[in-house]
C-alpha cells in the first residue's frame, strides 16, 4: 500500500509556486538586510570616527584659544602698534615740511633788503613783505631772486604789490609759489 503523501498535481504546482516566491522574497529580504547591516555598520563607524575627530578638534581649538587669550596683552600691544603705524604713515604722508622754506628765507637774505613780514602758508606759498632802498638794489635783488627761485625748484615769484615810497624806497609784497 502506498503510504506517501498523495498530492494532486494542482496542489503540487501551488506549493511549488509559493515556495519559489518565498525563496525569491527571502533572497530579496536577505539582500536588503545585508545592505541595511552594511550601511548601519558603515554609518556607525563613520559617525564614531567623525565624532571623535570633531571632539579632538574642539579640544585643540579650546587649547589654542586659551593660549591666545593668555597672550591678550601682547595682542593688544601688537594691534596698538599696527594701528598707530597706519595712522603715523598717513600723518607723515600729509605732514608739511617748513625746513625748505626756512632755508629759502636764509638764501633770500640780500644786502639792502629789509623784510618786514614773512609768512609761510602751508608749504606751497611764501609771502614776503619788504623794501629795498633804491632801484639799483631792486634790480640786483630781482636777478638774485630769479636765480634762487629757479635753483630751489619753486614755480614762480610774483610781486602781488609794489609801490614807491618816500625817500626812494620800494615797498613790495612778494609771493613765491611751488
Amino acid at each position: 500500500m502506498d503510504k506517501g503523501i498523495n498530492l494532486t498535481k494542482e496542489t503540487q504546482v501551488k506549493s511549488a509556486t509559493l515556495l519559489q516566491a518565498k525563496k525569491n522574497f527571502n533572497s530579496f529580504v536577505y539582500f536588503i538586510l545585508g545592505l541595511f547591516v552594511f550601511v548601519a555598520v558603515l554609518t556607525t563607524a563613520a559617525f564614531l570616527f567623525y565624532r571623535s575627530v570633531f571632539q579632538r578638534n574642539e579640544a585643540m581649538i579650546t587649547s589654542l584659544e586659551t593660549q591666545i587669550k593668555d597672550q591678550a596683552k601682547k595682542e593688544s600691544y601688537l594691534v596698538t602698534v599696527a594701528n598707530r603705524l597706519n595712522i603715523a604713515n598717513d600723518i607723515l604722508k600729509q605732514k608739511k615740511s617748513y625746513l625748505k622754506n626756512m632755508l629759502l628765507l636764509q638764501k633770500l637774505f640780500f644786502p639792502g633788503l629789509a623784510i618786514s613780514n614773512f609768512e609761510i602758508n602751508g608749504v606751497d606759498a611764501i609771502k614776503i613783505t619788504g623794501d629795498v632802498p633804491n632801484s639799483r638794489v631792486l634790480a640786483d635783488f630781482n636777478d638774485f631772486l630769479t636765480k634762487v627761485v629757479r635753483d630751489e625748484g619753486y614755480k614762480e615769484a610774483v610781486y602781488s604789490s609794489f609801490s614807491l615810497a618816500e625817500g626812494g624806497k620800494y615797498n613790495f609784497v612778494l609771493e613765491i609759489n611751488k
Binding site: K14, L64, S76, L78, L85, Y98
Partner: protein
C-alpha cells in the same frame, strides 16, 4: 483551480516582511538622521580645520613677538600719536622744544575745545576735524635757533606740525652772521582713538611690514620733548575684555 489562500501567503512572508519593516523603520528613524549627522560632522570638521589653521598662525605670530618689546613700541607710538587730547602736555612739550632750541616762548593761545579724557574723536558733530589740537605761540629768536626748532619738530615725538609761520621785521643781530626774528606760529599735535576691541579670537593679527619696521627704527631716534616728571605708562591690561586700557 483552487487559489492560494491569504493565510498561506501571510504565513510564508510574515517574518521576511517583519524584517523589511524593521529595516525600513530603523533606516528612516535612526540611520538617515545619523547619516545626516555624519555629513554635518564633516562640514564642521572642515570649518574646525580652518579655524585651527587660523588660530595656530595667530599663536605662532604672537609667540614670535616679545611682550616687552611690543609694550615699548606701543608706548613709543602712543607718545608720538596720543589717544587723548592732552592740551596741557602739548603746551609743556612745546615749551620744552622751544627751550631746547633756544627760542623764546612768548604769549600763547590755545582752543582745546571738547576735552576728551576717555578717547580721541575723529570728527565733531558738525563734521570738523577734531583730531588735531593747535597751539599758537609768539616767539623771538635768532634765525639759527628758529631753524633748529623747525628741524627738531620735523621729526619729533610727539608728531608735531608747524603751521602759519609768520615773522615780523627781520633785523641783523649784533653778530653780523645771524638775524634776530620775532613772529608767531602754530604747533599742531595729532591724536587719534585706539581700537575698541580686538575682534573675534580668530581675527588675524596685523602684520608689521618691512616699511613699518623701518619707520619704527627711525621714530625711535626722533627728537623727544619728554618732560622729566613724565614716565611711560606701563599699566596692567585686563585681558580681551578691556584690551586697550593703557
Amino acid at each position: 483551480m483552487s487559489k492560494i489562500s491569504l493565510k498561506d501567503i501571510f504565513e510564508a512572508f510574515f517574518i521576511p516582511l517583519l524584517i523589511l519593516i524593521f529595516c525600513g523603520a530603523v533606516s528612516y528613524f535612526v540611520l538617515v538622521p545619523k547619516i545626516g549627522e555624519v555629513f554635518d560632522f564633516r562640514k564642521e570638521i572642515t570649518a574646525q580645520k580652518e579655524k585651527i589653521t587660523k588660530l595656530s598662525e595667530k599663536l605662532t605670530t604672537l609667540d614670535s613677538y616679545s611682550e616687552t618689546e611690543l609694550l615699548e613700541l606701543s608706548n613709543l607710538l602712543l607718545e608720538a600719536i596720543p589717544n587723548e587730547k592732552n592740551f596741557y602736555l602739548l603746551l609743556a612739550q612745546s615749551k620744552e622744544a622751544f627751550k631746547q632750541s633756544s627760542v623764546a616762548f612768548g604769549k600763547f593761545s590755545l582752543s582745546p575745545g571738547l576735552v576728551s579724557s576717555a578717547s580721541a574723536v575723529q570728527t565733531t558733530k558738525d563734521g570738523k576735524d577734531d583730531s588735531i589740537v593747535s597751539l599758537g605761540v609768539a616767539f623771538s629768536s635768532s634765525f639759527e635757533a628758529l631753524l633748529d626748532l623747525v628741524q627738531k619738530t620735523e621729526k619729533s615725538i610727539p608728531f608735531l606740525q608747524l603751521a602759519n609761520l609768520r615773522l615780523g621785521t627781520i633785523t641783523p643781530a649784533s653778530s653780523s652772521a645771524t638775524f634776530d626774528l620775532a613772529g608767531d606760529l602754530s604747533i599742531e599735535n595729532y591724536f587719534r582713538p585706539l581700537p575698541k576691541t580686538l575682534g573675534t579670537i580668530e581675527t588675524p593679527l596685523p602684520k608689521l611690514s618691512e616699511a613699518d619696521k623701518k619707520l619704527l627704527g627711525e621714530i625711535k631716534n626722533w627728537q623727544r620733548f619728554q618732560l622729566e616728571e613724565e614716565t611711560a605708562s606701563s599699566e596692567e591690561i585686563s585681558g580681551r575684555e578691556n584690551p586697550f586700557s593703557f
